[in-house]
Amino acid sequence: MPHDHPDHAHDHGLSPSGHPYRADNDGPLTYWQRMEIAVRELLIEKAKITPAEITAQIEAMDARSPANGAAVVARAWCDPAFKARFLADAGAASREMGFDIGPLNLIAVENTEAVHNLIVCTLCSCYPRNLLGLPPDWYKTRQYRSRAVREPRAVLREFGVDLPDSTRIRVHDSTADMRYIVLPARPAGTDKMTEAELASLVSRDAMIGTGLARTP
């Protein structure tokens, strides 16, 4: 046996090499999958949409990632004039850096020693997806959506962010027309780092507010 997994050597549903089979796309067809296929086919037949448009849209969304936001944050840390433009209109500043974010209305909120910002969408799942890509699953859960506003300090502690009581926490509730991104505080000891090196310190969670920028 190429791998030694004594605990489940006799389990069912394992591959010949002793690993569980990964869930794939070949489970039983569901009602909702049928609906997706039907809606897509009808839109294509009625010339409302082309298959190429759908593929291109999926590729564009897959190409978006937190690295885009990290690049914008790093620029704001390095360039005070850019930072001012970013805080005035984060969408325009992101477009200025060449990111195609569509009609996204983006508002940047800055973390300082006095204020920590946290982003949520209490209604559903609004998120700066056109800059950062699709939101993590937990962002869409009822637990996060309700607890982020009810007990933000407890939520932050779970994410490993333990803030002093003197730091004020501001929770921002996103809507489809108004989405937020956190400008994390620049970590100490990063004065000599390049913009690209700084970007590597900026995680997705730091831009949601459930994390801080990493210290090098």
Partner: protein
Amino acid sequence: MDGHDFALWEKRVDALMVLCGAKGFFTVDGLRRALEDMGEDAFEKHSYYERWIAAVNQNLIEGGVYSLEELGTRMEEIAARGPTYGEAQNG
């Protein structure tokens, strides 16, 4: 629960929602209304993209892009094509 890898059908729902919105077939408010109309238990029973395809479909029917009958007929045809998502594609 962080590493959810979206299935192809979910990515297609996302793409259809964005494209149809951009083409003006419905508004975000229209989607929202359809989601609210599903009732509370829809949020217990159905996944995120299941609710979204239902909302997209509801708005397209209301907007006259296709009829309920066309949808029903097509969904039956699709069920007859095969038991998995891949086999149920036309082509």
